[in-house]
Structure formats: C-alpha cells, structure tokens
Symmetry: C2
Subunit: 207 residues, 2 copies
C-alpha cells in the first residue's frame, strides 16, 4: 500500500513515517509540507492513499488540495488527518472528496485500520467526528443560511449594524432580525461571541 503524507509539521511527518514504517503492508512513497508540493509529488508517485492535514501554512489549504487531487485522473483516496473537528472543516473536507476524517489525537491502531479501510475506498470517521456528524444530522436547525453567513462576515470585520445594512442594501431592522437568528443558531448572545463561534466552526475565515 503506497502512502503519501501532506503535513506542514516536520515533527508530525517524521512521526507518521516512524509509526507507519512498522506496518509491513504500508510504504511511504512521498511527503509534502504544502499544497503545490503535494500535487506535484502525488502526480509523480501515484500513491494509493494520501494522508492530508487541513492547515498547510502556505496559502492553499488542505480542503482545496483534496479537491484538486480528486480531480486527477484515477485519483488516490484522501484521508484527512488533522487536529480540528469543527463541523465546517469536516463537511468541507467530505464535500471536497475526502474518503475519511481522522484526528491526530486518535490512537495509532485507529489510524492503521483507518488507512487500510480508506485504501479499500471505505469511508472512515473518528468516533468523535462521527458523533458530531450525528448530532448535526439530528438538529439541522443550526445550519446558517447564505445570507446569514454574509452578515457574519461583515460582523467579523467589526462593522456596526448601520454599515452592514448599507453594504447589503437592506435596512438596519433586517440586519437585527438576521442577528437574532444567528445568535440562536450559534448558541450565543452577543455579536462578538457570534464572531468567535463562527470562526471556531470555520463558518467564516478571518483575512
């Protein structure tokens, strides 16, 4: 089984090399610290499974790299292995074509089995991740509308309600209505808390 590692932390890459080197059925055929390097290496080495971190340091992030990998002819399986477990991260990764989503905090055995499952094309999720997905399914009320995300982005740049209204060509009253909905969906009570909650859930991105 040919593996390719994408992670911007040399320590983590070395760790995976050491861990996976002990498994006789696995062979690491390449590594990359960034997105562009990963795409070059993967087209050249044609691995079976790519272990992908989402935070890559350089501009392009792991989700985008995953999407481009899956657009290659006869693409490898992409197994996300990262620290974070926000709804938005998971959904975006799956949407981009990831075969699975594991956390770095998971026990090594779960990692080994996950890689083998991913190589067979099976979807594999960390138990914590699976739990979160289930909760989300059961409560679809927490999904923000596109308009609400638009409001959140202006909120995050520190604009007042008046300015947000002006930029979106709506009235201040409408902005406040949206805000009430956003607070309710995010489970917060103030605009500032809404911004941090949205950033944590990767609903929006700070520039």
């Amino acid at each position: 089984m040919r593996l390719f590692l994408v992670d911007d932390h040399p320590v983590v890459r070395a760790g995976l090399v050491a861990l996976l080197g002990g498994e006789p059925d696995m062979e690491i055929v390449g590594e990359a610290a960034g997105g562009a390097e990963a795409l070059r290496g993967i087209t050249a080495r044609e691995p079976d499974v790519v272990l992908m971190d989402l935070q890559l340091g350089d501009g392009i992030d792991g989700v985008e790299v995953t999407r481009r990998i899956r657009e290659l002819p006869s693409p490898p399986q992409v197994l996300v292995l990262t620290t974070y477990e926000s709804d938005a991260d998971i959904m975006r990764a799956i949407d981009a074509g990831a075969t699975g989503y594991l956390l770095k905090a998971c026990p090594p055995d779960e990692l080994f089995q996950g890689i083998r499952a991913a190589a067979r094309g099976e979807t594999v999720l960390s138990t914590k991740v699976a739990t979160r997905m289930m909760k989300r399914m059961r409560d679809p009320g927490t999904a923000l509308s596109a308009r609400e995300v638009e409001i959140l982005e202006l909120l995050a740049s520190g604009e007042g309600n008046r300015e947000i209204a002006r930029r979106l060509f709506i009235t201040e009253a409408t902005v406040k209505t949206h805000l009430v909905h956003i607070y309710s969906k995010l489970g917060v009570e103030t605009r500032t808390a809404a911004v941090t909650a949205a950033v944590e859930r990767r609903l929006i991105r700070l520039p």
Copy 2:
C-alpha cells in the same frame, strides 16, 4: 540527556520518539497526554528536559503544567513545542517559566539543537517566534500590555464589560478605560473589530 514528552496527540508523541531516538545523546524516559499524568510522570522520572505542548485536551493547559513543573524541587527545563505562535501564548509560556518556545513546523535540526540548548539552561526561540518578539520590541507604541491582552481574551469570548470586570476583579469603568487604549493601539473603533484585529496580529488566539 533524559527527555519527557507531553502532548495529547499520539501521532506527535510517536514522531518525537522516532526522531529523537536517532540522536545518541537523547533518551526518552516518559510520555504523557495530559497535565496530571505529566506531573506524576515527571516527579517519578526526573527528566532533564520536558517537551511541552500547550493544548492538552483535558482541562489543565500546558502553561499551567509548566508553572507547576517549575515549582517542583530541582525542576527540569521546560521547552514548549507547539503549533501556535501568538504573542499571548509565547508571553504566557515564558512567564510560566518555560526555557524556550519552538514550533512543530520547525526543521528537526532546530529541534535537536533547541533541546540541547534548553538542557544547558539557555533560552531558545524559533526564528519565527524570535522575529515576532523583535518586531514587538521595536514598535512599543502598538505593544499591548499584559493586562490589555487579558482583556482582549475575554473580549474575544464575547463577554460584556460587566462580566469582564467581574472576572478580573476590577470595575466596569476600568474595563472601559482599557478598551479605549486597546482601540487606540489597534486602530479600531469597536470591540468586534478589536477582536479580529487582535487575531490577525496573533496577539490572541481563538480557542
């Protein structure tokens, strides 16, 4: 040289074991995933250097663990090895008694040399971290005081002025005074904008 690892990611611990195992002068005498486990292990094994992550998953964080380690009789050197590089993280770690601050994204050689330097009691900083500190020194006009950063962190969690005051055992009036200074230093006009500005400048980090 006796080393002790504290990191909640099994993958990272395995990576460090593999990396450092190749260095003849280094020996890993113990590991821990959480704070309490770390304190027990360190008192038992008496390492020379502790490699400490700041995010430990369980309640107690790496800064607090570092502080308690340094309060032990004849304490080991604590070298922080983490993903983040915010001013607040760095300052709090140093203040807690850390000997140095390295990033997981640093090249392995820098890690090896850093550990040897830490064992000799020398202060060691990643180049990125050192650069940030220098910039901070050169432009003290925009440097926030420790108290102001403290306010910012509560601000970022969405607390109102009253709650911030209560938590810091000061009055609301004082909080507002700090906020005016913070706005001025960050060049913003609202609390929400202050949070995003602080996050962008890595003065604080969202949880």
